[in-house]
């Protein structure tokens, strides 16, 4: 596999100019995640409205191009979606990064799927999968209010 399939333009662009890299005002859910092996960390902030729809989502943290791009694309995608949809999308994304050849979620538009599939290159780089999944695990932790910091070394 060519390294350029991992570092596609869209990833480089999101990595350089991450969307929603800020702290949501009046957030009502949040969670922290870290990758102790490389020192990367992320803090995800969520604001759900009364219908459990994502009114706003943002993140703070630092990391490599893959982790920043993944968090950036993730926050962009799930804004406006409902909590149950978000959980389904996260599990679809994690399934794709792990083993599935494509995304199956009915809650994603085709162009959204295309965007997410840009991250599929990390499958070929097992050491980098955690970079791509950290913010997604952290998002679930925020939604579930687990109050537990996500640690990539403690995930499957």
């Amino acid at each position: 596999m060519n390294i350029k399939e991992l570092y596609q333009e869209i990833i480089l662009e999101h990595g350089k100019n991450p969307r929603n890299l800020r702290k949501t005002e009046n957030f009502n859910k949040d969670a922290m995640g870290k990758n102790p092996l490389c020192g990367d960390n992320v803090h995800v902030f969520l604001k759900l409205d009364e219908n459990k729809k994502v009114e706003d989502i943002s993140f703070e943290g630092s990391g490599c191009a893959i982790s920043m791009a993944s968090a950036s694309i993730m926050t962009d995608l799930i804004k406006g979606k409902e909590e149950v949809e978000v959980k389904e999308i996260v599990s679809d994304f994690l399934g794709m990064i792990k083993e599935n050849p494509e995304l199956k979620s009915k809650n994603l538009e085709e162009d959204e799927k295309t965007k997410l599939m840009c991250l599929s290159g990390v499958k070929q780089y097992p050491m980098r999968v955690k970079c791509a999944t950290l913010s997604w695990h952290t998002l679930i932790s925020a939604i579930d209010n687990t109050q537990e910091e996500i640690n990539t070394e403690k995930l499957d």
């Binding site: 480089l12 350089k16 020192g39 780089y125």
Partner: protein
Amino acid sequence: MSISGIKKEFPIFSNKIHNNDLVYLDSANSSQKPQSVIDRVNEFYTNEFSNTGRSVHYLAVAATNLYENTRSSVQNYINAKDKNEIVFTKGATEAINLVANTFGQKYLEKGDEILITELEHHSNYVPWHFLRQSKGIKIEFAEINDDGEITLESIEKKINSKTKLIAITHLSNVTGAVLPVKEITELAHSKGIAVLVDGCQGAPHLKLDMQDIDCDFYAISCHKMYGPTGLGVLYAKKKWLEQLPPYQGGGGMINDVKKDSITYGDLPNKYEAGTMATAQVIAFDQSIKFLEKVGIESMIKHEQELIEYGQEILKRNNSVKLIGNPKNRAAVLSFTIEGVHPHDIATILDEDGVAIRAGHHCCQILHDKLGISASARASLGVYNTKEDLDQLNSSINNCKKIFNL
């Protein structure tokens, strides 16, 4: 043995990595192994295997002799006064833990201070932290200067009447700075303070003379010295090994065992409880022979030329920022590239067969001080060449290209 063409002694270099020649620049993490070391492990398990020190049969006696022979080789290589000052451990980490545990148990009280430096690897900090928690000792950090060095003055500044032990690295695994360990030891001893040197990086690259440095403890990692994994050496002055309590209890370290009393064995058995890493110890003798055949002076000269060449080309490369600028640098070139995270650098370099490390290199205190979360590190071994460093530079350029820098 001539250094040019020494790669041939290391079978790993005949492999291709992603269809490219391997450019191995991660020796500070762990070095590659010469064929002679690999063969020795194989030979021992194939034709000579036995446990040591327990039985009187032929194989046991032969294995014990081989095992003890490595102890003598290490003694000779590091110029220790006494063979029994060499203790085998499972690694340098265990060597430092052994000292923290036993020295801490016997000599440290609440309020006593251990002085370490901001350059220390976690393995020369965490064991002291355990004592901070269990005994209420304090840990002081000597501060680096702008060049990423630890000077004698920065140590002197932090010494006070409570300081009981100074634990310092010989060679920083991030900035590559060589510390003035002899001068620091002299200063410490003049104030009655013991000195432990973490020699993980020093031992593979510098000339070792324990009687000259005069430190009390010196920890060595054998797998960074062209030797097998699972093995370390603790050098400790005899007076300490005699005075300190045993570290682990078990077979081999005892003298007499009764229901109501136990006496411990003589040195070095007192500190080598249980079955040791016999094959590794025996094979490590070949690592020392390899280093002696290369010649320490030639190795140092070769690596010094490389480090100067590496510094030169990386300094010329725009957007590469070297970490530290020590006057006395050896074996390590850590750097960052503005706009590219070290993990991305490492992944992209790997595609060209260039193996470096990215992360905090077990030195979070130092990275915090430098205000960065991670760095990329190219570290040298005796097998590296100027061509390797040229490849590093050209792969860095490729990385900059991918990131549109």
